[in-house]
């Protein structure tokens, strides 16, 4: 009886302690925000990019250039413009020339481009970058 009344009296404090222990326990297991973004970004990539640039990012024939180690992806801001507005005109990637227009992607929202960016940078440049939708909106402002 003593114990029960003690618990009842300090219910809030006990609850907080239990939650704290659980939080510490699970913290290591929950994905970090950039891991979450990369997983979400992979879905966007598969849906909107992989048909041409291929799932492994190596491109296809002389039609679609590779994204793997691509200098166009390394450029910190320009990649957002390419995703949104598409691209045309001749380019050279890793010694190979490409000259077939890439269509724009007006349907992609800033939040989607943000997670896509985290995936592209991780997967094809091995860089850890996290973008917020706001970052993307600011980068997009600089597109011509």
């Amino acid at each position: 009886m003593h114990i029960l009344s003690y618990i009842r009296k300090h219910l809030v404090i006990i609850g907080l302690i239990v939650m704290g222990i659980l939080a510490i326990f699970y913290m290591g297991k929950l994905p970090s925000k950039s891991e979450w973004a990369i997983t979400a970004g992979e879905k966007i990539y598969t849906q909107h990019c992989a048909n041409c640039h291929q799932p492994d990012g190596k491109g296809f024939q002389k039609l679609y250039p590779p994204l793997l180690h691509s200098p166009y992806l390394k450029d910190s801001a320009n990649w957002v413009c390419i995703v949104q507005k598409g691209m045309s005109g001749p380019i050279v990637v890793q010694g190979q020339s490409y000259d077939f227009p890439m269509p724009p992607n007006p349907q992609l929202k800033a939040a989607e481009i943000a997670v896509l960016g985290a995936y592209l940078k991780k997967q094809f440049l091995n860089m850890d970058v996290f973008y917020t939708p706001n970052d993307i909106a600011n980068m997009a402002k600089k597109c011509e």
Partner: protein
């Protein structure tokens, strides 16, 4: 003894069936009676006349006695065409030295896909244009050819990425211009099956 006879005949039927695998003849068929003889008339691919990537006007006559694989696409298509064309390339490469096989890719986007664009596209895709033709088509004509001739859906639809809605089928036809199979062009396994099925038609 009777029992063995049944087992042998069943085995023979199974083995025989395997050896003579046949592909269906697709589309509507009509029974005609000419001079007291009944004859089945199958759906055949209709005539067309389009410029290819080299600005040469070709018709069905160019593909006479050939087993053909056709698809409908457009070069700026961001969705399924890159996949279907990749599988078409696989078929073309598999039968690279076989002149009895031909491939046809009809562009459904006359506003963008000029002869010149198609020539560049074919070159960059790595397509051998002795085997594989890319057609710059008039829109109405190609839509009708797709719908009535090849049972493929092609539509202008501004809501779709790229502005067109179309089915991504690879359509196999025999030497008599009859459709013998429609394969999902976005699926690698279907493309493999298509490659195998071409052999069946060659043997006919």
């Amino acid at each position: 003894m009777k029992k063995w006879g049944i087992i042998i005949s069943i085995t023979a039927m199974i083995l025989g069936g395997c050896g003579e695998k046949k592909l269906p003849i697709m589309g509507e068929k009509k029974i005609q009676v000419v001079d007291g003889k009944t004859d089945t008339v199958y759906h055949t691919l209709p005539e067309f006349s389009f410029l290819n990537q080299d600005s040469v006007r070709l018709t069905q006559a160019y593909f006479k006695d050939k087993v053909c694989v056709a698809d409908f696409f457009f070069t700026s298509c961001p969705t399924i065409c890159p996949l279907t064309q990749k599988n078409m390339l696989k078929v073309a490469q598999h039968y690279a030295n076989d002149t009895s096989i031909a491939l046809l890719s009809f562009s459904i986007d006359p506003y963008h896909d000029s002869v010149n664009v198609l020539r560049q596209y074919a070159k960059r895709l790595g397509a051998d244009t002795r085997k594989w033709q890319f057609f710059a088509c008039e829109q109405e004509a190609v839509f009708e050819l797709a719908q009535k001739g090849y049972f493929a859906t092609t539509l202008r639809d501004s809501l779709q990425p790229g502005g067109y809605m179309h089915s991504g089928g690879l359509i196999l036809s025999d030497k008599k211009r009859r459709i013998r199979g429609i394969y999902n062009g976005t699926d690698e396994k279907e493309a493999e099956k298509l490659i195998q099925d071409i052999r069946i038609l060659q043997a006919e």
